[in-house]
């Protein structure tokens, strides 16, 4: 760069640069003027015709959203058409007065006003916003007669989403809601803006969100001639909308209903999977919520109630909440022992009722121990000491390495949004999870707790069901999925969601058979025997209890502990034992011992799925199944 100059030189250079700036500004504006002359003089005729043509306006036609039905054709999500009263705030001079005057004609509740206010905060002032939905015929007639008094207020026929089954399977189906800024951004990024012109709702959660692309359809257009006031006077051309595809699920709503009712008002989750395909037969998370509340923009007090409820009804526990698996982890540990050669089937170990490690005594449930325990018995009686010793012999790396292929501690890739990973503990995990070096070290004692499914272990009910399905399916693990077919609403053409085997875990058939036999033993003579007394099919299972609260040496007495600190109750099961058609995992939050609250729910689910047995109080035939079929098939 130039050296030091005198102030005079500096000033001269500065003035030179000012001149350059002036010239650049003139050139810039000159180019602009040239552009204006080109547009306004040279191409005037062309643009003036285009402006005339702009009297022809494109009006989007919103496609019908696809239906969602269960595997038997029961409709879970559908549309109906109704009149809605809409206001464009920027076209209304005095909003309060207008609403006041409108309330003389149609019934407008305080909650309608509140919702409008909320929508106005979220949207631009020139958007047309719903004030009242589902007007009665009489209200429609009254408004039409007085319409001239209300510029900026319009009556529109709109399609509404309806979830006829109410709160059943609400976490799976999800819901739609009005498109907000964040949705808009996503639509713009995926280049779908044109297809969403005219659409004001979008899938917000569950299948409504994950299958948005299929369900939405393709927007059509009407070319209409408009008068100078912008009102349509003549239809010129019409490109019809292509309705969204219907989605048929692997889910069996009856099974879902039976399980949800079996839960009653307890909190928890159940996931049932068809082992040979990965198809999800039921996915329950309780408490549930009514997705219909969300469709027209949820009323603030409903929203507050759902959000502040300490039972967290909006949470899909089946795929999001991770719990320590407790003893349901033992069959997997046992299989790992056989596969890695750390145990043989006939090897018998003595259980004194405790296991000493590093100066700490790990206790068995049974005072004095179970005596001589082999692998079969260890599962049937759920012997902790056996697994303390096994975990110590295998070591944490071998445990984590064996469990990972079963899907523990990873997202399964199910076709639902909002899945969590859970935790498959390992020294690497601990290093990543904790910041301070002294917390990052893995201790041998932690391995011992992992062996009985406690400690850092945390898996979602979906991961437990998926892991069990892979085990009973001889090591072939499928990606779990809820959609079974996607059906073109127009042609009826049906695309099947192909079962996707993710991997085959190298296991010996004899080992698998032994574990399955032991799990059948659980329900015959072990911890699950009471729940499955008299079952006419052969069923394998395992109870589990996940500690919520550590007693620090005290004795766990259920009655003395606050309900929310009680242990979580697990049960995993598969049936029929020789050729499993269903594998499931049940979790009851704070349900106490697994055999007590979780196993009876599994029993009801299996009785229905294998025998068609419907518990008292539930209609055996679903009337909705028949009326639905025309839309779905």
């Amino acid at each position: 760069m130039a050296g030091i100059r005198t102030p005079e030189q500096e000033l001269a250079r500065f003035r030179g640069r000012l001149a350059v700036a002036g010239i650049v500004a003139l050139i810039g504006f000159g180019l602009l003027v040239a552009r204006f002359v080109y547009l306004q003089v040279v191409r005037y005729d062309y643009y003036s015709t285009r402006a005339e043509d702009n009297r022809i306006s494109l009006v989007p036609i919103v496609p019908n959203r696809g239906l969602i039905t269960d595997r038997n054709g029961t409709v879970l999500a559908r549309n109906y058409s109704a009149y809605t009263l809409e206001i464009t705030p920027s076209k209304v001079a005095d909003l309060e007065a207008t609403i006041e005057a409108l309330s003389k004609l149609v019934d407008i509740q305080p909650k309608d006003r509140k919702r409008l206010k909320k929508l106005m905060d979220e949207s631009k002032s020139f958007e047309s916003l719903p004030l009242r939905n589902r007007l009665s015929d009489e209200e429609v007639a009254r408004f039409i007669a007085q319409r001239y008094r209300f510029p900026g207020v319009e009556l529109k026929a709109r399609l509404f989403r309806d979830y006829p089954m109410g709160s059943f399977a609400s976490h799976v189906i999800g819901y739609i809601g009005r498109i907000n800024d964040r949705d808009l951004e996503r639509i713009e990024e995926s280049d779908d803006s044109a297809n969403y012109r005219g659409t004001d709702h979008i899938g917000k959660s569950g299948l409504e969100k994950s299958y948005e692309r299929e369900l939405h359809g393709i927007t059509g257009f009407e070319e209409v001639e408009v008068d100078s006031g912008g009102r349509a006077v003549r239809l010129l051309r019409r490109t019809p909308a292509i309705p969204g595809n219907n989605v048929i699920l692997t889910l069996d709503l009856k099974l879902q209903e039976i399980v949800e009712k079996a839960f009653g008002n307890r909190r928890g989750a159940l996931v049932a999977i068809e082992p040979s395909t990965g198809g999800v037969l039921a996915m329950v998370s309780t408490p549930t919520f009514d997705p219909n509340l969300f469709v027209d923009g949820i009323a603030p007090q409903d929203w507050d109630q759902l959000n502040t409820d300490q039972d967290k009804p909006l949470l899909n526990r089946a795929i999001y909440s991770a719990y320590p698996p407790g003893s349901t982890f033992k069959p997997f540990m046992a299989l790992g022992a056989l596969t890695t050669g750390k145990r043989t089937p006939n090897q018998t170990l003595a259980d004194p009722g405790y296991f000493n490690f590093g100066g700490h005594r790990f206790m068995d449930d049974k005072v004095g121990g179970h005596g001589g325990v082999d692998l079969y018995k260890s599962i049937v009686v759920s012997c902790n000491t056996y697994y303390y010793m096994l975990a110590n012999d295998m070591g944490i790396d071998a445990i984590a390495g064996f469990m990972r292929p079963f899907g523990f501690g990873q997202r399964s890739g199910i076709d639902l949004p909002g899945e969590s990973e859970g935790v498959l503990p390992s020294p690497e995990w601990k290093k990543k999870r904790f910041k301070r070096p002294e917390q990052q070290k893995w201790f041998g004692g932690e391995t011992i707790s992992v062996g009985i499914g406690q400690g850092y272990n945390a898996y979602t009910p979906l991961q437990m069901a998926q892991g069990l399905a892979a085990l009973v399916n001889n090591g072939v693990l499928f990606r779990p999925h809820i959609a079974r077919h996607v059906v073109d609403a127009k042609t009826g053409e049906r695309r099947t969601v192909e079962p996707e085997p993710l991997r085959t875990i190298p296991l010996k058939q004899a080992h698998i058979d032994l574990i399955k036999r032991a799990m059948v033993g659980v329900n015959k003579a072990g911890t699950g025997a009471r729940a499955f007394a008299g079952a006419p099919y052969e069923v394998g299972g395992k109870t589990g209890t996940a500690q919520v609260y550590s007693l620090r040496g005290g004795k766990y007495v259920e009655g003395r502990i606050a309900e929310r600190l009680r242990d979580h109750s697990w049960f995993i099961a598969f049936a029929p034992a020789d050729k499993p058609k269903i594998a499931l995992a049940v979790l009851v939050e704070n349900g106490g011992f697994g055999a007590q609250s979780a196993a009876p729910i599994a029993r009801q689910a299996l009785d229905y799925y294998l025998l068609g047995k419907v518990p008292a109080g539930i209609a055996p035939e679903d009337p909705a199944a028949e009326e639905s079929s025309e839309g779905a098939e």
């Binding site: 640069r17 700036a21 504006f29 191409r43 044109a194 100078s228």
Partner: protein
């Protein structure tokens, strides 16, 4: 008579800080703004008046502040701006996918706006402090001072503001004597890049072609500009409709309040970024030329003030501020008439929008202050 109540004294107090020619030009532009607003969206006239009031007050206050005082607030303003930008990055509000706003309890502020003024002030202050011994090293330091906020703003992401802040800083460097050997190659590379994008528009806009370093929607924006008809219902709609509005205005326009594009809701953002399209639809080429002439006069008045400014600081500041007005006007009119991409830059002193108006009027106020104090400070 009490001299405090003498109306002539009061008038002198009010008017003396102001620069006559600049004031006339700004008033002309705001009047124009009001006239168009009556046609485009009359319900906003009230807010426009309030905004203009606040902006004029800011201008008056800036005009009364002598350049040394302006110089003394440069660095603190810059530091505060940077801290606010960092605060935005950490806990800013997200709106439309970008993190630009900071909620300070009473209201939300957009710190990147502050940077448009703080940037030229700071750089001008820096060069003043090194006056007489400016070397290459100083330009490197100045460029670092510039890139820090620009990086933070670009990350929000707010490409439009990042470009404007970069421009405001670059103008100071330019007037401070940044060598042509650096300016010319960058300019040439830029021109060649733009020309080649335009020339190869058909091939590189095919779906599936990834542009290194750019996100899909940014590619989309450029491609839409090259061929608006490729997306007539989405992004291209804005450009198509505003060019139709301009073109159909012809030489004398369709008349006040008669713009069909405006009144049939074809024009997007017609009171903010696209207000120039309304103006040209209703007042034609004549209306557009009047605006362009006002801007040219404004810019030449600014350059004149810069030429007569006594200190390096006030010279650099006046020159840079003037070119900022030029950049705003050029980019806005360019994007509305379809020769520049849509980046969300308002038409200075005409577009509706309080923050931008206040920022711009602060700039004019500083110009006025430099002009008024030119004789009092010796070199």
């Amino acid at each position: 008579m009490n001299p405090r109540l003498d109306p002539r004294k009061w008038l002198h107090f009010l008017l003396s800080p102001l620069d006559g020619p600049l004031m006339v030009l700004i008033l002309a532009l705001t009047t124009y703004s009001a006239v168009i607003m009556v046609s485009a969206s009359p319900e906003r006239l009230g807010t426009l008046a309030v905004n203009a009031g606040v902006a004029f007050l800011a201008m008056w206050l800036a005009a009364r502040t002598p350049p040394p005082r302006l110089m003394s607030i440069a660095l603190p303003l810059y530091v505060v701006g940077i801290l606010l930008l960092i605060a935005v990055a950490l806990f800013g509000d997200v709106s439309k996918g970008a993190r630009r706003w900071l909620n300070i309890g009473i209201t939300r502020i957009q710190p990147s706006e502050l940077m448009k003024i703080a940037m030229p002030l700071t750089l001008a202050w820096y060069f003043q402090s090194r006056e007489g011994m400016i070397r290459g090293r100083d330009f490197l330091i100045a460029i670092s001072l510039l890139l820090l906020p620009v990086g933070l703003i670009a990350k929000q992401p707010d490409l439009g503001t990042a470009i404007l802040v970069t421009a405001s800083g670059f103008f100071v460097l330019f007037f401070a004597g940044l060598t042509w050997r650096l300016i010319l190659p960058v300019a040439v590379v830029g021109i060649v890049a733009v020309a080649s994008i335009v020339a190869m528009g058909d091939t590189i806009c095919q779906p599936g072609v990834d542009w290194p370093g750019l996100r899909e929607y940014q590619k989309h924006r450029v491609c839409t500009l090259l061929d608006p008809t490729s997306d007539p219902l989405g992004k291209g709609f804005h450009i198509i409709q505003s060019t139709i509005a301009i073109g159909s205005g012809g030489v004398v326009g369709k008349g006040w309040g008669n713009g069909t594009q405006t009144h049939l809701d074809f024009l997007p953002e017609r009171h903010t970024d696209f207000i120039f399209a309304v103006l040209t639809e209703e007042f034609g080429l004549v209306g557009a030329l009047i605006v362009v002439v006002i801007y040219i006069l404004l810019i030449f008045r600014g350059l004149f003030i810069a030429a007569g400014a006594p200190t390096l600081f006030s010279r650099l500041l006046a020159g840079a501020l003037t070119l900022i007005f030029f950049t705003y006007a050029l980019v806005n009119m360019g994007m509305v008439s379809g020769i520049l991409p849509v980046v969300g830059v308002p038409l200075p002193f005409v577009s509706y929008g309080g923050t931008a108006l206040v920022t711009l009027c602060l700039g004019v106020g500083m110009l006025m202050s430099i002009q008024r104090h030119r004789r009092r400070v010796g070199t």
